[in-house]
């Protein structure tokens, strides 16, 4: 315990219960194909991909079905061999229907993947690697789903010294990054080689939270001697895995407000993303699946599964079984994961977990009495961005959104939820802040 406090970290933050013991030791298992896969064309931040297949066309697993449209966009690949049934709109977590492709896998579809044009580490130039990553459809698998290649392009006038591989995984319940580090250790280092070559960074750091010491040991043992790489252990604290917090903890650099990691000469890539780069690029393949932790008290067969992209949440839950008292499902962890309103929503590249909980966890939580802010300052002490959630909460209630942004740095809030977590008055602070941002965006757009 004391050990934990001597490790590097950021200031503030919270300590939610980890709930990782149920799945941390379970090896990644493969998942069958759902009868229909729903592949949204925009699973990333940026422009949706452009479809390059027709309705009725047969595709093989791994084949490109949509291409990147511009630089901030990535390709999509067929998660299974089968027939494109329909190109139209698919349900999404936001509740809206979004453009997407319905793919019906052949009953006999195998896990075999078609190889494309390989990107060889030895001969590829940085630009080759960047475009190969884009073609492979790779986005941040930690949840943000930002196209990875876009981070690697260093603009004129910026410089980079460190590539950080983020294996922190601070969200409760999730153990996917943990398993990937244990089971795909070589892929991680291969991916890191690509990343360092693409960016020309002088060193690499793999950051792991102190609750995954077995992964630290495995990584350290397997670390190739020719690479300038260290594996660093960080304190167990939420939201240690946020990009800004990792960089603060490792390098003691603060990304300026509104800035990017590059402003402090670093980039930060999720460890599962790195492993996918290392696994896919040598074969010229694209992402067709991802590792997902299905866990929480509402799940019968908890575990870490490699699941085809586009698998509906309903199918996933049917495979693992849910308890009778399961009442709430969210994608990702309980701190930031959005709740699903319909089980038809498909899994996307950014989905790191499916967590199902029962009334026992949420019952008391949902029906709690909301008091006015007693100014206890717990939210102020929890906010990793050093904001004043108490004051912003009061302003949000009075709909003073502009004031929140201009005087209290609303836009620096990355919605980690720490403030809501600690508030003894049970004020839905981060919920207010999301709403405030949406309102501000709405008023900003027509102008």
């Amino acid at each position: 315990m004391l050990d934990n406090f001597r490790r590097s970290t950021f200031r503030h933050g919270i300590h939610p219960e980890e709930h990782k013991d149920d799945t941390r030791d379970l090896a990644i298992r493969r998942f069958p194909f759902a009868p229909t896969l729903l592949v949204p064309l925009s699973q990333h931040l940026g422009k949706p991909a452009k479809v390059v297949v027709r309705e009725g066309q047969e595709v093989s697993r791994g084949q490109t079905i949509a291409e990147a449209d511009g630089f901030i966009s990535v390709a999509m690949h067929a998660p299974a061999s089968g027939v494109i049934r329909k190109i139209g709109r698919v349900p999404s977590i936001s509740g809206d229907l979004v453009p997407g492709v319905y793919l019906e896998p052949y009953p006999a579809s195998t896990q075999e993947v078609a190889d494309g044009e390989p990107c060889r580490l030895e001969t590829a130039t940085p630009d080759d690697i960047i475009s190969a990553i884009q073609r492979a459809g790779i986005v941040g698998l930690g949840g943000a789903a930002f196209p990875t290649h876009a981070k690697l392009k260093i603009p004129e006038g910026k410089s980079l010294d460190t590539v950080i591989i983020n294996g922190v995984e601070c969200e409760p319940y999730l153990t996917t990054d943990h398993r990937v580090m244990l089971e795909q250790t070589d892929d991680v280092f291969m991916g890191l080689r690509y990343l360092m070559k693409a960016t020309g960074a002088g060193r690499g750091i793999i950051a792991v939270e102190a609750n995954k010491l077995d992964a630290v040991e495995t990584l350290r043992k397997a670390c190739p001697a020719d690479l300038p790489i260290t594996v660093e252990v960080l304190q167990v604290k939420y939201p240690q895995g946020a990009e800004k917090m990792v960089i603060k903890a490792l390098l003691d650099r603060e990304i300026p407000s509104g800035g990017l990691p590059l402003d402090v000469h670093a980039i930060c890539v999720n460890v599962a993303t790195t492993a996918e780069i290392g696994r896919l690029l040598p074969h010229g393949q694209g992402i067709q699946e991802r590792v997902v932790t299905i866990g929480g008290p509402g799940i019968v067969k908890k575990g870490n599964y490699r699941i085809p992209i586009g698998t509906p949440v309903r199918f996933a839950l049917e495979q693992v079984g849910v308890t009778d008292d399961m009442t709430r499902v969210f994608l990702g962890g309980p701190m930031m994961g959005p709740a699903v309103s319909s089980l038809d929503v498909p899994l996307t590249k950014g989905t790191s977990g499916i967590t199902a909980v029962t009334r026992a966890e949420t019952g008391a939580h949902g029906e709690r009495r909301i008091y006015p802010c007693i100014r206890c300052a717990r939210c102020v002490d929890a906010c990793p961005m050093y904001l004043n959630p108490s004051q912003m909460g009061i302003l949000a209630k009075n709909e003073c959104y502009t004031e929140m942004a201009e005087e209290f740095h609303l836009m620096d809030c990355f919605e980690c939820g720490s403030c809501s977590f600690v508030c003894p008055s049970h004020i839905p602070l981060v919920q207010y802040f999301r709403l405030a941002k949406r309102m501000l965006r709405k008023t900003a757009r027509p102008a």
């Binding site: 709740a339 102020v380 961005m385």
Partner: protein, 348 residues
């Protein structure tokens, strides 16, 4: 079988720390109980009646006002109970009970309810009640009975049950507080007597040891910002030390200043009222400094022997301005970041 469920929709976070306002308030009540116990032990039946009457009048006032406005009664959040107990602890033990009731009604009615209830009070309601009594009944509010008088558990002081609006009649056994003795006779009381509450004073302000223990308990549970009492006490000690250096013998010693009067109770339980104190830690240091300085000034140079109450009320008024002045420095907005940027632009 097709899986179907009614799903609860709620936005994240889906978990919480489990902390709640009533839980915090409940622990504050717990931390106050030893102080109450000692008060009754030291001042007997009269103190018990004063504290009980104070609490009852505060709770009843809130209940009645809520009823009147058809609001849900928030007595369950314990906050008005705390107000009541604290208010009781600041009163002289022999205060006529009808005055106790009047102060309680005023404190909660004006000090809390008029401002909008829980979490909207700009001032500590307990102190508002006491300040009102101080202004309305200055004599009764400075009439102190002796601690540990032999008959304290069997007899009531004749003043306690005075009929409302009548002039209270006092028994012979009265005593001056150490601060008054200091102020008007320039004699000090020994430190052990002060620290363990063997002197006369308000009902609950005399036992510094128990007050500090209660404060430590709350601070450890993150229910009280320790910076406020530490800052107040350090300021009082520092300033009085300085004054003693400048003019030895003329002013009370730092230790005496710390342990006498309502300073401990005020610093630990009253100044720390979350609603009426600043929200940032830096703000809390400043707020404590302000209270400490005011206490010293009032005690040394003011017309009254005690100044803790006014010092806290004044600082309560200043607290929102401190908050406006001192906001947390947002991540990534500190000047060294700017330097880094400049550096980079320089190389570009």
């Amino acid at each position: 079988m097709k899986l179907s469920r009614t799903l609860q929709i709620a936005s994240s976070p889906h978990v919480s720390s489990g902390a709640s306002v009533d839980h915090i308030m409940y622990h504050v009540v717990l931390a106050l109980l030893p102080v109450v116990g000692f008060a009754v032990y030291a001042f007997g039946l009269a103190a018990a009646l004063v504290i009980f009457t104070a609490t009852a009048s505060c709770v009843a006032t809130e209940h009645f006002l809520n009823r009147l406005n058809r609001r849900e009664t928030p007595v369950s959040d314990w906050s008005v109970t705390i107000t009541g107990i604290l208010y009781g602890l600041t009163l002289p033990p022999a205060l006529p009970l009808w005055m106790v009731v009047i102060g309680g009604v005023f404190g909660v009615g004006i000090g809390k309810y008029l401002f909008g209830g829980l979490a909207y009070n700009a001032f500590n309601p307990a102190l508002v009640g006491r300040a009102f009594l101080q202004a309305a009944f200055p004599q009764a509010m400075t009439h102190w009975s002796e601690a540990f008088s032999p008959g304290r558990f069997t007899d009531l002081p004749s003043s306690t049950l005075t009929i409302p609006m009548a002039e209270p009649v006092y028994d012979a056994v009265t005593s001056a507080t150490p601060l008054a003795v200091m102020k008007f006779q320039n004699a000090t009381t020994g430190v052990p007597e002060l620290a363990f509450g063997l002197t006369s004073g308000s009902v609950g302000e005399t036992c510094a040891a128990l007050i500090l223990a209660g404060g430590a308990y709350l601070a450890l549970r993150n229910m009280l910002n320790w910076r406020i009492p530490v800052s107040i006490l350090a300021t009082v000690a520092g300033l009085s030390f300085l004054m003693n250096l400048i003019a030895p013998g003329e002013y009370a010693s730092p230790v005496f200043m710390l342990f006498s009067g309502g300073l401990m109770l005020g610093a630990v339980f009253m100044a720390t009222d979350m609603v009426a104190s600043p929200i940032t830690n830096a703000g809390c240091w400043l707020y404590g400094l302000l209270i400490g300085a005011l206490v010293v000034v009032i005690r040394y140079w003011g017309g009254m022997p005690e100044g803790v109450m006014y010092a806290i009320l004044l600082a309560n008024a200043v607290s929102p301005h401190i908050d406006r002045l001192i906001q947390p420095t947002v991540f990534g907005t500190r000047p060294e970041n700017g330097e880094k940027k400049d550096e980079q632009e320089g190389t570009a």
